[in-house]
Protein backbone atom coordinates (compact mmCIF):
# COMPACT_ATOMS: atom_id res chain seq x y z
CA UNK A 1 0.00 0.00 0.00
CA UNK A 2 2.24 2.79 -1.22
CA UNK A 3 0.95 6.35 -1.26
CA UNK A 4 -0.59 7.38 -4.54
CA UNK A 5 0.26 11.05 -4.57
CA UNK A 6 3.25 13.24 -3.92
CA UNK A 7 2.47 15.93 -1.30
CA UNK A 8 2.55 18.63 -3.96
CA UNK A 9 -0.03 16.95 -6.17
CA UNK A 10 -2.16 16.28 -3.10
CA UNK A 11 -2.12 19.91 -2.00
CA UNK A 12 -2.97 21.16 -5.50
CA UNK A 13 -5.84 18.67 -5.79
CA UNK A 14 -7.22 19.43 -2.33
CA UNK A 15 -6.95 23.19 -2.86
CA UNK A 16 -8.95 22.92 -6.09
CA UNK A 17 -11.52 20.70 -4.36
CA UNK A 18 -11.78 23.19 -1.53
CA UNK A 19 -12.27 26.13 -3.89
CA UNK A 20 -14.93 24.22 -5.79
CA UNK A 21 -16.69 23.33 -2.52
CA UNK A 22 -16.62 26.98 -1.45
CA UNK A 23 -18.03 28.08 -4.80
CA UNK A 24 -20.86 25.54 -4.70
CA UNK A 25 -21.54 26.29 -1.05
CA UNK A 26 -21.95 29.97 -1.90
CA UNK A 27 -24.09 29.33 -4.98
CA UNK A 28 -26.49 26.55 -4.00
CA UNK A 29 -29.35 26.57 -1.54
CA UNK A 30 -33.07 27.36 -1.33
CA UNK A 31 -32.38 30.29 -3.67
CA UNK A 32 -29.82 28.98 -6.12
CA UNK A 33 -27.68 31.66 -7.68
CA UNK A 34 -26.11 31.31 -11.13
CA UNK A 35 -22.50 30.13 -10.69
CA UNK A 36 -21.05 33.09 -12.55
CA UNK A 37 -23.10 35.63 -10.57
CA UNK A 38 -21.91 33.96 -7.38
CA UNK A 39 -18.31 34.26 -8.47
CA UNK A 40 -18.71 37.92 -9.43
CA UNK A 41 -20.57 38.78 -6.23
CA UNK A 42 -18.00 36.96 -4.12
CA UNK A 43 -15.16 38.82 -5.82
CA UNK A 44 -17.02 42.09 -5.27
CA UNK A 45 -17.37 41.25 -1.58
CA UNK A 46 -13.61 40.73 -1.52
CA UNK A 47 -13.29 44.31 -2.76
CA UNK A 48 -12.44 43.68 -6.40
CA UNK A 49 -13.71 46.36 -8.81
CA UNK A 50 -16.39 44.43 -10.70
CA UNK A 51 -19.54 45.82 -12.32
CA UNK A 52 -22.26 45.38 -9.68
CA UNK A 53 -25.29 45.68 -12.02
CA UNK A 54 -27.96 43.10 -11.09
CA UNK A 55 -25.88 41.53 -8.32
CA UNK A 56 -27.63 43.19 -5.39
CA UNK A 57 -29.64 40.12 -4.42
CA UNK A 58 -26.65 37.78 -4.82
CA UNK A 59 -24.50 40.06 -2.69
CA UNK A 60 -27.12 40.23 0.01
CA UNK A 61 -27.58 36.46 0.18
CA UNK A 62 -23.84 35.86 0.09
CA UNK A 63 -22.89 38.47 2.66
CA UNK A 64 -25.67 37.76 5.15
CA UNK A 65 -26.23 34.02 4.84
CA UNK A 66 -23.97 31.96 2.64
CA UNK A 67 -20.60 33.50 3.48
CA UNK A 68 -20.82 33.05 7.28
CA UNK A 69 -22.20 29.57 6.73
CA UNK A 70 -19.38 28.67 4.37
CA UNK A 71 -16.75 30.08 6.71
CA UNK A 72 -18.33 28.13 9.56
CA UNK A 73 -18.20 24.94 7.49
CA UNK A 74 -14.57 25.50 6.55
CA UNK A 75 -13.49 26.14 10.13
CA UNK A 76 -15.52 23.31 11.66
CA UNK A 77 -14.41 20.78 9.03
CA UNK A 78 -10.77 21.80 9.26
CA UNK A 79 -10.57 21.81 13.03
CA UNK A 80 -12.48 18.53 13.42
CA UNK A 81 -10.15 16.83 10.96
CA UNK A 82 -7.13 18.23 12.82
CA UNK A 83 -8.55 16.98 16.11
CA UNK A 84 -8.95 13.55 14.54
CA UNK A 85 -5.29 13.54 13.50
CA UNK A 86 -4.25 14.63 17.01
CA UNK A 87 -6.35 11.91 18.68
CA UNK A 88 -5.11 9.21 16.33
CA UNK A 89 -1.54 10.30 16.96
CA UNK A 90 -2.07 10.43 20.72
CA UNK A 91 -3.58 6.96 20.88
CA UNK A 92 -1.32 5.70 18.10
CA UNK A 93 -4.37 4.13 16.57
CA UNK A 94 -6.11 5.05 13.34
CA UNK A 95 -9.55 4.31 14.82
CA UNK A 96 -9.45 7.04 17.44
CA UNK A 97 -11.87 9.88 16.76
CA UNK A 98 -13.06 12.74 18.95
CA UNK A 99 -16.65 11.50 18.56
CA UNK A 100 -15.91 7.86 19.28
CA UNK A 101 -13.85 8.49 22.39
CA UNK A 102 -16.46 10.82 23.83
CA UNK A 103 -14.73 14.19 23.52
CA UNK A 104 -17.56 15.55 21.37
CA UNK A 105 -20.19 14.39 23.86
CA UNK A 106 -18.25 16.03 26.66
CA UNK A 107 -18.19 19.24 24.66
CA UNK A 108 -21.93 18.92 23.97
CA UNK A 109 -22.54 18.49 27.68
CA UNK A 110 -20.53 21.63 28.34
CA UNK A 111 -22.56 23.48 25.70
CA UNK A 112 -25.85 22.21 27.13
CA UNK A 113 -24.74 23.28 30.59
CA UNK A 114 -24.02 26.78 29.28
CA UNK A 115 -27.31 27.05 27.37
CA UNK A 116 -29.62 25.72 30.07
CA UNK A 117 -27.64 27.19 32.94
CA UNK A 118 -27.64 30.55 31.18
CA UNK A 119 -31.39 30.37 30.60
CA UNK A 120 -32.07 29.38 34.21
CA UNK A 121 -29.99 32.27 35.45
CA UNK A 122 -32.16 34.57 33.37
CA UNK A 123 -30.05 34.89 30.27
CA UNK A 124 -26.44 35.65 29.51
CA UNK A 125 -25.45 39.01 27.98
CA UNK A 126 -25.41 38.81 24.18
CA UNK A 127 -21.78 39.91 24.02
CA UNK A 128 -20.25 37.09 26.08
CA UNK A 129 -22.77 34.34 25.22
CA UNK A 130 -20.83 32.74 22.36
CA UNK A 131 -17.56 32.90 24.31
CA UNK A 132 -19.10 31.37 27.43
CA UNK A 133 -20.56 28.61 25.28
CA UNK A 134 -17.20 27.91 23.64
CA UNK A 135 -15.46 27.93 26.99
CA UNK A 136 -17.91 25.46 28.58
CA UNK A 137 -17.79 23.18 25.52
CA UNK A 138 -14.01 23.28 25.63
CA UNK A 139 -14.00 22.44 29.34
CA UNK A 140 -16.37 19.52 28.79
CA UNK A 141 -14.22 18.20 25.94
CA UNK A 142 -11.05 18.60 27.97
CA UNK A 143 -12.39 16.69 30.98
CA UNK A 144 -13.59 13.77 28.84
CA UNK A 145 -10.41 13.67 26.71
CA UNK A 146 -8.32 13.56 29.86
CA UNK A 147 -10.55 10.93 31.52
CA UNK A 148 -10.53 8.64 28.48
CA UNK A 149 -6.80 9.01 28.23
CA UNK A 150 -6.28 8.14 31.91
CA UNK A 151 -8.75 5.25 31.84
CA UNK A 152 -7.23 3.80 28.67
CA UNK A 153 -3.74 3.58 30.13
CA UNK A 154 -2.30 0.84 32.25
CA UNK A 155 1.36 0.35 33.09
CA UNK A 156 2.40 3.13 30.78
CA UNK A 157 0.63 1.69 27.76
CA UNK A 158 -2.51 2.78 26.00
CA UNK A 159 -5.08 0.04 25.66
CA UNK A 160 -7.23 0.89 22.69
CA UNK A 161 -10.08 -1.46 23.57
CA UNK A 162 -10.29 -0.01 27.09
CA UNK A 163 -10.12 3.46 25.63
CA UNK A 164 -12.99 2.87 23.21
CA UNK A 165 -15.07 1.27 25.98
CA UNK A 166 -14.32 4.16 28.29
CA UNK A 167 -15.37 6.44 25.44
CA UNK A 168 -18.69 4.61 25.11
CA UNK A 169 -19.29 4.81 28.85
CA UNK A 170 -18.47 8.51 29.02
CA UNK A 171 -20.55 9.22 25.92
CA UNK A 172 -23.51 7.50 27.60
CA UNK A 173 -22.92 9.44 30.80
CA UNK A 174 -22.63 12.75 28.97
CA UNK A 175 -25.72 11.99 26.88
CA UNK A 176 -27.77 11.23 29.97
CA UNK A 177 -26.62 14.48 31.51
CA UNK A 178 -27.57 16.31 28.31
CA UNK A 179 -30.91 14.47 28.60
CA UNK A 180 -31.32 15.81 32.10
CA UNK A 181 -30.68 19.34 30.88
CA UNK A 182 -33.19 18.72 28.08
CA UNK A 183 -35.75 17.74 30.72
CA UNK A 184 -35.08 20.91 32.68
CA UNK A 185 -35.14 23.16 29.63
CA UNK A 186 -38.05 25.33 28.51
CA UNK A 187 -39.34 25.27 24.92
CA UNK A 188 -37.01 27.82 23.40
CA UNK A 189 -33.93 26.30 25.04
CA UNK A 190 -35.10 22.87 23.96
CA UNK A 191 -34.94 23.85 20.29
CA UNK A 192 -31.39 25.09 20.73
CA UNK A 193 -30.42 21.86 22.52
CA UNK A 194 -31.85 19.64 19.81
CA UNK A 195 -29.80 21.60 17.35
CA UNK A 196 -26.55 20.85 19.25
CA UNK A 197 -27.22 17.15 19.32
CA UNK A 198 -27.61 16.77 15.59
CA UNK A 199 -25.27 19.44 14.36
CA UNK A 200 -26.02 22.08 11.77
CA UNK A 201 -24.40 24.97 9.98
CA UNK A 202 -27.79 26.64 9.73
CA UNK A 203 -28.16 30.06 11.25
CA UNK A 204 -24.47 30.79 11.10
CA UNK A 205 -23.69 34.28 12.24
CA UNK A 206 -20.49 36.25 12.55
CA UNK A 207 -20.81 36.46 16.34
CA UNK A 208 -20.77 32.65 16.60
CA UNK A 209 -18.01 32.46 14.06
CA UNK A 210 -15.34 34.52 15.80
CA UNK A 211 -14.45 32.28 18.75
CA UNK A 212 -14.27 29.31 16.40
CA UNK A 213 -12.10 31.10 13.85
CA UNK A 214 -9.69 32.18 16.57
CA UNK A 215 -9.43 28.68 18.02
CA UNK A 216 -9.16 26.99 14.61
CA UNK A 217 -6.37 29.32 13.58
CA UNK A 218 -4.50 28.68 16.83
CA UNK A 219 -4.82 24.89 16.53
CA UNK A 220 -4.00 24.94 12.81
CA UNK A 221 -0.86 26.95 13.47
CA UNK A 222 0.24 25.00 16.54
CA UNK A 223 -0.21 21.35 15.56
CA UNK A 224 1.88 21.38 12.36
CA UNK A 225 4.83 22.63 14.43
CA UNK A 226 4.68 19.26 16.18
CA UNK A 227 4.39 17.20 12.98
CA UNK A 228 7.81 15.53 13.25
CA UNK A 229 7.26 14.77 16.92
CA UNK A 230 3.89 13.22 16.11
CA UNK A 231 5.61 10.99 13.56
CA UNK A 232 8.02 9.81 16.24
CA UNK A 233 5.19 9.31 18.73
CA UNK A 234 3.68 6.71 16.37
CA UNK A 235 6.75 4.53 17.12
CA UNK A 236 5.72 4.40 20.76
CA UNK A 237 6.03 6.65 23.74
CA UNK A 238 9.35 5.34 25.01
CA UNK A 239 10.86 5.32 21.51
CA UNK A 240 9.79 8.93 21.03
CA UNK A 241 11.37 9.71 24.39
CA UNK A 242 14.65 8.15 23.27
CA UNK A 243 14.55 10.40 20.22
CA UNK A 244 14.66 13.38 22.55
CA UNK A 245 10.97 14.34 22.64
CA UNK A 246 9.29 15.49 25.84
CA UNK A 247 6.47 12.96 25.44
CA UNK A 248 4.38 14.00 28.43
CA UNK A 249 4.33 17.57 27.21
CA UNK A 250 3.45 16.53 23.66
CA UNK A 251 0.55 14.43 24.94
CA UNK A 252 -0.75 17.31 27.05
CA UNK A 253 -0.60 19.56 24.00
CA UNK A 254 -2.51 17.02 21.90
CA UNK A 255 -5.26 16.59 24.50
CA UNK A 256 -5.47 20.36 24.91
CA UNK A 257 -5.61 21.08 21.16
CA UNK A 258 -8.26 18.41 20.62
CA UNK A 259 -10.41 19.65 23.46
CA UNK A 260 -10.02 23.23 22.29
CA UNK A 261 -10.79 22.44 18.64
CA UNK A 262 -13.68 20.07 19.28
CA UNK A 263 -15.08 22.35 21.98
CA UNK A 264 -15.11 25.35 19.67
CA UNK A 265 -16.54 23.32 16.77
CA UNK A 266 -19.31 21.84 18.93
CA UNK A 267 -20.13 25.25 20.39
CA UNK A 268 -20.47 26.74 16.91
CA UNK A 269 -22.14 23.92 14.99
CA UNK A 270 -23.17 21.17 17.38
CA UNK A 271 -22.21 17.51 17.28
CA UNK A 272 -20.85 16.57 13.86
CA UNK A 273 -19.43 13.09 13.95
CA UNK A 274 -16.97 11.05 11.93
CA UNK A 275 -15.18 13.94 10.19
CA UNK A 276 -12.19 13.40 12.48
CA UNK A 277 -12.17 9.71 11.63
CA UNK A 278 -12.79 9.70 7.90
CA UNK A 279 -10.66 12.64 6.76
CA UNK A 280 -7.25 11.63 8.17
CA UNK A 281 -7.86 8.13 6.82
CA UNK A 282 -8.55 9.34 3.32
CA UNK A 283 -5.51 11.60 3.38
CA UNK A 284 -3.29 8.76 4.64
CA UNK A 285 -4.55 6.52 1.85
CA UNK A 286 -3.66 9.21 -0.67
CA UNK A 287 -0.25 10.27 0.56
CA UNK A 288 0.94 8.24 3.55
CA UNK A 289 1.03 8.88 7.31
CA UNK A 290 3.72 11.60 7.49
CA UNK A 291 2.20 14.33 9.69
CA UNK A 292 4.07 17.06 7.85
CA UNK A 293 1.69 16.38 4.94
CA UNK A 294 -1.18 14.85 6.90
CA UNK A 295 -1.89 17.83 9.16
CA UNK A 296 -2.19 20.60 6.56
CA UNK A 297 -3.84 18.27 4.03
CA UNK A 298 -6.42 17.21 6.63
CA UNK A 299 -7.41 20.84 7.17
CA UNK A 300 -8.15 21.24 3.45
CA UNK A 301 -9.83 17.86 3.09
CA UNK A 302 -11.90 18.29 6.26
CA UNK A 303 -13.06 21.74 5.20
CA UNK A 304 -14.00 20.51 1.70
CA UNK A 305 -15.77 17.42 2.98
CA UNK A 306 -17.84 19.34 5.49
CA UNK A 307 -18.93 21.91 2.90
CA UNK A 308 -19.97 19.11 0.53
CA UNK A 309 -21.83 17.34 3.36
CA UNK A 310 -23.56 20.64 4.14
CA UNK A 311 -24.61 20.91 0.48
CA UNK A 312 -26.22 17.48 0.76
CA UNK A 313 -27.89 18.59 4.00
CA UNK A 314 -29.24 21.71 2.28
CA UNK A 315 -30.35 20.16 -1.00
CA UNK A 316 -31.45 16.59 -0.24
CA UNK A 317 -34.86 17.52 1.20
CA UNK A 318 -35.06 21.13 -0.03
CA UNK A 319 -36.67 23.40 0.99
CA UNK A 320 -36.41 21.57 4.34
CA UNK A 321 -32.93 21.06 5.73
CA UNK A 322 -31.27 17.96 7.19
CA UNK A 323 -29.02 18.37 10.22
CA UNK A 324 -25.48 17.90 8.90
CA UNK A 325 -24.57 15.50 11.72
CA UNK A 326 -26.99 13.03 10.14
CA UNK A 327 -25.27 13.35 6.75
CA UNK A 328 -21.75 12.86 8.12
CA UNK A 329 -22.91 9.88 10.19
CA UNK A 330 -24.50 8.33 7.11
CA UNK A 331 -21.16 8.56 5.32
CA UNK A 332 -18.93 7.99 8.34
CA UNK A 333 -20.48 5.02 10.11
CA UNK A 334 -20.27 2.63 7.13
CA UNK A 335 -16.74 3.87 6.54
CA UNK A 336 -15.84 3.00 10.13
CA UNK A 337 -17.28 -0.51 9.67
CA UNK A 338 -15.29 -0.84 6.46
CA UNK A 339 -12.10 0.06 8.34
CA UNK A 340 -12.86 -2.49 11.06
CA UNK A 341 -13.49 -5.26 8.51
CA UNK A 342 -10.40 -4.35 6.52
CA UNK A 343 -8.30 -4.41 9.70
CA UNK A 344 -9.55 -7.92 10.45
CA UNK A 345 -8.77 -9.31 7.02
Amino acid sequence: MTPLLKPRALFIGLSLLCLLAIWLSLALGPVSLPLLDTLRAALRLLGLPIEGQGLEQAELILGQIRLPRTLLGLAVGGVLALSGVAMQGLFRNPLADPGLVGVSSGAALGAAFAIVGGALLGGVPEAIGPYLLSFCAFLGGLVVAWLVYRLGRRNGQTHVATMLLAGIALTALASSAVGLFTYLADDATLRTLTFWNLGSLNGASYSRLWPLLLVSAAVALWLPRRAKDLNALLLGESEAGHLGIDVERLKRELVFCTALGVGAAVAAAGLIGFVGLVVPHLVRLLSGPDHRTLLPASILAGASLLLLADLVARLALAPAELPIGIVTAFIGAPFFLFLLLRGRA
Binding site: M1, T2, P3, R92, N93, P94, K228, D229, N231, A232, L234, L235, G236, S238, E239, G241, H242, L243, G244, I245, D246, R284, G288, P289, D290
Partner: protein, 255 residues
Protein backbone atom coordinates in the same frame (compact mmCIF):
# COMPACT_ATOMS: atom_id res chain seq x y z
CA UNK B 1 29.95 7.29 28.39
CA UNK B 2 27.30 5.53 30.47
CA UNK B 3 27.94 4.47 34.04
CA UNK B 4 25.65 2.85 36.59
CA UNK B 5 26.31 2.95 40.31
CA UNK B 6 24.80 0.41 42.64
CA UNK B 7 21.46 0.25 40.78
CA UNK B 8 18.44 -1.35 42.40
CA UNK B 9 14.88 -1.58 41.05
CA UNK B 10 11.90 -2.88 43.00
CA UNK B 11 8.46 -3.80 41.71
CA UNK B 12 6.15 -3.76 44.69
CA UNK B 13 7.98 -5.76 47.34
CA UNK B 14 10.02 -7.77 44.88
CA UNK B 15 13.53 -6.68 44.06
CA UNK B 16 13.98 -7.20 40.31
CA UNK B 17 17.43 -5.64 40.03
CA UNK B 18 20.12 -5.14 42.64
CA UNK B 19 23.80 -4.42 43.04
CA UNK B 20 24.49 -3.36 39.46
CA UNK B 21 27.76 -1.50 39.00
CA UNK B 22 28.53 -1.07 35.36
CA UNK B 23 30.62 1.08 33.09
CA UNK B 24 30.26 0.94 29.32
CA UNK B 25 33.60 1.63 27.68
CA UNK B 26 34.07 3.29 24.28
CA UNK B 27 34.59 0.75 21.52
CA UNK B 28 33.40 -2.13 23.63
CA UNK B 29 30.47 -4.51 23.08
CA UNK B 30 29.09 -5.64 26.42
CA UNK B 31 26.72 -8.60 26.22
CA UNK B 32 24.05 -9.19 28.84
CA UNK B 33 23.01 -12.80 29.35
CA UNK B 34 20.61 -14.44 31.74
CA UNK B 35 17.51 -16.63 31.89
CA UNK B 36 14.02 -15.21 31.30
CA UNK B 37 13.05 -12.87 34.10
CA UNK B 38 16.64 -12.30 35.23
CA UNK B 39 16.20 -8.54 34.89
CA UNK B 40 17.90 -7.93 31.57
CA UNK B 41 15.23 -5.65 30.10
CA UNK B 42 14.76 -3.95 33.48
CA UNK B 43 18.47 -3.19 33.50
CA UNK B 44 18.22 -1.69 30.04
CA UNK B 45 15.18 0.39 31.02
CA UNK B 46 17.03 1.71 34.08
CA UNK B 47 20.16 2.47 32.05
CA UNK B 48 18.28 4.56 29.48
CA UNK B 49 16.21 6.48 32.01
CA UNK B 50 12.88 4.90 31.09
CA UNK B 51 12.66 3.40 34.57
CA UNK B 52 13.66 5.36 37.63
CA UNK B 53 15.85 3.17 39.84
CA UNK B 54 14.85 2.87 43.51
CA UNK B 55 18.47 3.04 44.46
CA UNK B 56 21.67 4.14 42.77
CA UNK B 57 22.35 6.41 39.84
CA UNK B 58 23.05 6.40 36.13
CA UNK B 59 25.55 8.86 34.71
CA UNK B 60 25.93 9.90 31.11
CA UNK B 61 29.30 11.59 30.73
CA UNK B 62 29.69 13.74 33.85
CA UNK B 63 26.01 14.46 34.31
CA UNK B 64 23.22 12.45 35.86
CA UNK B 65 21.02 10.91 33.18
CA UNK B 66 17.75 12.48 34.33
CA UNK B 67 19.24 15.97 34.13
CA UNK B 68 20.07 15.77 30.43
CA UNK B 69 18.09 17.76 27.89
CA UNK B 70 16.12 15.31 25.71
CA UNK B 71 17.64 16.30 22.37
CA UNK B 72 21.21 16.42 23.68
CA UNK B 73 20.76 13.02 25.29
CA UNK B 74 19.32 11.55 22.09
CA UNK B 75 22.49 12.53 20.20
CA UNK B 76 24.56 10.46 22.64
CA UNK B 77 22.33 7.59 23.61
CA UNK B 78 20.16 5.42 21.35
CA UNK B 79 17.94 2.55 22.46
CA UNK B 80 16.48 -0.33 20.48
CA UNK B 81 13.56 -1.92 22.35
CA UNK B 82 12.65 -5.57 22.08
CA UNK B 83 9.67 -4.92 19.86
CA UNK B 84 7.94 -1.91 18.39
CA UNK B 85 4.31 -1.45 17.52
CA UNK B 86 3.94 0.81 14.54
CA UNK B 87 0.58 0.51 12.83
CA UNK B 88 0.90 3.27 10.27
CA UNK B 89 2.04 2.70 6.70
CA UNK B 90 5.26 4.70 6.73
CA UNK B 91 7.79 3.90 4.09
CA UNK B 92 10.93 2.18 5.37
CA UNK B 93 13.17 5.21 4.84
CA UNK B 94 10.71 7.39 6.75
CA UNK B 95 10.93 5.08 9.76
CA UNK B 96 14.73 5.13 9.64
CA UNK B 97 14.64 8.89 9.07
CA UNK B 98 12.93 9.32 12.45
CA UNK B 99 16.33 8.50 13.92
CA UNK B 100 17.56 11.86 12.57
CA UNK B 101 15.01 13.80 14.62
CA UNK B 102 17.55 14.98 17.24
CA UNK B 103 19.63 16.65 14.51
CA UNK B 104 19.27 19.53 12.09
CA UNK B 105 21.67 18.08 9.56
CA UNK B 106 19.52 18.84 6.51
CA UNK B 107 17.46 16.73 4.15
CA UNK B 108 20.27 15.67 1.79
CA UNK B 109 22.63 14.58 4.56
CA UNK B 110 19.81 12.77 6.38
CA UNK B 111 18.81 10.85 3.24
CA UNK B 112 22.41 9.80 2.78
CA UNK B 113 22.69 8.62 6.40
CA UNK B 114 19.37 6.76 6.19
CA UNK B 115 20.62 4.83 3.16
CA UNK B 116 23.94 4.02 4.82
CA UNK B 117 22.24 2.89 8.02
CA UNK B 118 19.83 0.71 6.03
CA UNK B 119 22.74 -0.88 4.21
CA UNK B 120 24.58 -1.48 7.49
CA UNK B 121 21.55 -3.43 8.71
CA UNK B 122 21.39 -5.25 5.35
CA UNK B 123 18.03 -3.63 4.67
CA UNK B 124 18.99 -1.38 1.77
CA UNK B 125 16.74 -3.35 -0.57
CA UNK B 126 13.73 -2.47 1.63
CA UNK B 127 14.06 1.21 0.66
CA UNK B 128 10.71 2.43 -0.70
CA UNK B 129 8.69 -0.43 0.79
CA UNK B 130 5.81 0.12 3.20
CA UNK B 131 6.75 -0.72 6.79
CA UNK B 132 3.48 -2.51 7.57
CA UNK B 133 4.04 -4.94 4.68
CA UNK B 134 7.37 -6.17 6.11
CA UNK B 135 7.99 -9.43 7.98
CA UNK B 136 8.93 -9.41 11.67
CA UNK B 137 12.62 -9.88 10.95
CA UNK B 138 12.65 -7.17 8.30
CA UNK B 139 10.95 -4.77 10.72
CA UNK B 140 13.58 -5.56 13.34
CA UNK B 141 16.35 -4.68 10.89
CA UNK B 142 14.60 -1.44 9.93
CA UNK B 143 14.47 -0.43 13.60
CA UNK B 144 18.13 -1.35 13.98
CA UNK B 145 18.88 0.94 11.02
CA UNK B 146 16.84 3.64 12.78
CA UNK B 147 18.95 3.57 15.95
CA UNK B 148 22.16 3.36 13.88
CA UNK B 149 21.01 6.46 11.97
CA UNK B 150 20.44 8.18 15.31
CA UNK B 151 24.15 7.86 16.18
CA UNK B 152 25.55 7.76 12.63
CA UNK B 153 28.42 7.39 11.87
CA UNK B 154 29.23 6.47 15.47
CA UNK B 155 31.92 8.08 17.62
CA UNK B 156 33.56 7.96 21.02
CA UNK B 157 31.18 9.32 23.66
CA UNK B 158 28.07 7.69 22.20
CA UNK B 159 26.20 4.74 23.66
CA UNK B 160 23.93 2.19 22.02
CA UNK B 161 21.61 -0.07 24.03
CA UNK B 162 19.99 -3.02 22.26
CA UNK B 163 17.38 -5.42 23.63
CA UNK B 164 17.57 -8.74 21.77
CA UNK B 165 18.21 -7.25 18.33
CA UNK B 166 18.43 -10.73 16.76
CA UNK B 167 15.32 -12.36 18.23
CA UNK B 168 13.35 -12.44 14.96
CA UNK B 169 16.25 -12.89 12.56
CA UNK B 170 17.39 -15.82 10.43
CA UNK B 171 20.91 -17.19 11.14
CA UNK B 172 22.59 -15.13 8.43
CA UNK B 173 21.04 -11.90 9.60
CA UNK B 174 21.84 -12.63 13.23
CA UNK B 175 25.48 -12.47 12.18
CA UNK B 176 25.00 -9.54 9.80
CA UNK B 177 23.33 -7.56 12.57
CA UNK B 178 25.98 -8.28 15.17
CA UNK B 179 28.72 -7.48 12.65
CA UNK B 180 27.08 -4.10 12.04
CA UNK B 181 26.95 -3.52 15.78
CA UNK B 182 30.57 -4.63 16.09
CA UNK B 183 31.64 -2.16 13.39
CA UNK B 184 29.75 0.58 15.17
CA UNK B 185 31.66 -0.22 18.35
CA UNK B 186 34.93 -0.23 16.43
CA UNK B 187 34.26 3.43 15.61
CA UNK B 188 34.17 4.22 19.32
CA UNK B 189 30.54 3.69 20.37
CA UNK B 190 29.94 1.89 23.66
CA UNK B 191 27.43 -0.90 23.06
CA UNK B 192 25.32 -2.92 25.47
CA UNK B 193 23.38 -5.76 23.88
CA UNK B 194 21.00 -8.24 25.46
CA UNK B 195 21.36 -11.66 23.83
CA UNK B 196 20.03 -15.17 24.30
CA UNK B 197 22.35 -16.99 21.93
CA UNK B 198 25.48 -17.91 23.90
CA UNK B 199 27.52 -18.53 20.76
CA UNK B 200 26.69 -15.14 19.27
CA UNK B 201 27.69 -13.59 22.59
CA UNK B 202 30.95 -15.55 22.60
CA UNK B 203 31.83 -14.40 19.13
CA UNK B 204 30.91 -10.72 19.13
CA UNK B 205 31.14 -9.45 22.73
CA UNK B 206 34.22 -8.11 24.53
CA UNK B 207 32.74 -8.56 27.99
CA UNK B 208 29.71 -10.40 29.28
CA UNK B 209 27.42 -9.66 32.20
CA UNK B 210 25.65 -12.75 33.46
CA UNK B 211 22.50 -11.90 35.42
CA UNK B 212 20.77 -14.24 37.83
CA UNK B 213 17.59 -13.22 39.65
CA UNK B 214 18.33 -9.52 39.18
CA UNK B 215 21.87 -9.76 40.57
CA UNK B 216 25.12 -9.87 38.63
CA UNK B 217 26.53 -13.39 38.72
CA UNK B 218 29.67 -12.52 36.81
CA UNK B 219 31.06 -9.71 34.67
CA UNK B 220 34.10 -10.78 32.72
CA UNK B 221 35.51 -11.81 29.36
CA UNK B 222 33.54 -14.38 27.34
CA UNK B 223 36.18 -17.01 28.03
CA UNK B 224 35.70 -16.55 31.78
CA UNK B 225 31.91 -16.27 31.81
CA UNK B 226 31.07 -18.96 29.26
CA UNK B 227 32.37 -21.90 31.28
CA UNK B 228 30.29 -24.96 32.15
CA UNK B 229 30.08 -24.09 35.90
CA UNK B 230 28.56 -20.59 35.67
CA UNK B 231 26.24 -21.65 32.85
CA UNK B 232 25.08 -24.64 34.89
CA UNK B 233 24.61 -22.41 37.94
CA UNK B 234 22.63 -19.68 36.15
CA UNK B 235 20.76 -21.43 33.33
CA UNK B 236 20.68 -24.95 34.83
CA UNK B 237 22.03 -26.12 31.50
CA UNK B 238 24.71 -28.79 31.07
CA UNK B 239 27.13 -27.67 28.38
CA UNK B 240 30.39 -28.57 26.74
CA UNK B 241 32.66 -25.67 25.94
CA UNK B 242 35.22 -26.02 23.17
CA UNK B 243 37.33 -23.59 21.22
CA UNK B 244 35.93 -22.52 17.86
CA UNK B 245 38.06 -24.48 15.35
CA UNK B 246 38.80 -21.40 13.22
CA UNK B 247 38.38 -18.40 15.51
CA UNK B 248 39.30 -19.72 18.91
CA UNK B 249 36.44 -18.13 20.88
CA UNK B 250 34.39 -20.40 23.17
CA UNK B 251 31.86 -22.60 21.42
CA UNK B 252 29.02 -23.73 23.65
CA UNK B 253 27.33 -27.04 22.96
CA UNK B 254 24.42 -28.29 25.02
CA UNK B 255 25.01 -31.80 26.34
Amino acid sequence: MLRAENLAVRRGRKTVLEGIDLELNPGEVLGVLGPNGAGKSTLLAALCGELKPDHGQVWLDQCELSRWDGGQKAQRLAVLPQSSTLEFAFRVEEVVGLGRLPYQSGRARDDEIVMQALQAADAGHLHGRSYVALSGGERQRVHLARVLAQLWPGAVGQTLLLDEPTSALDPLHQHVTLQAIREFADRGVAVLVILHDLNLAARYCDRLLLLEGGRPHSLDSPAQVLRPEPLKAVFGLEVLVQAHPERGHPLIIAR
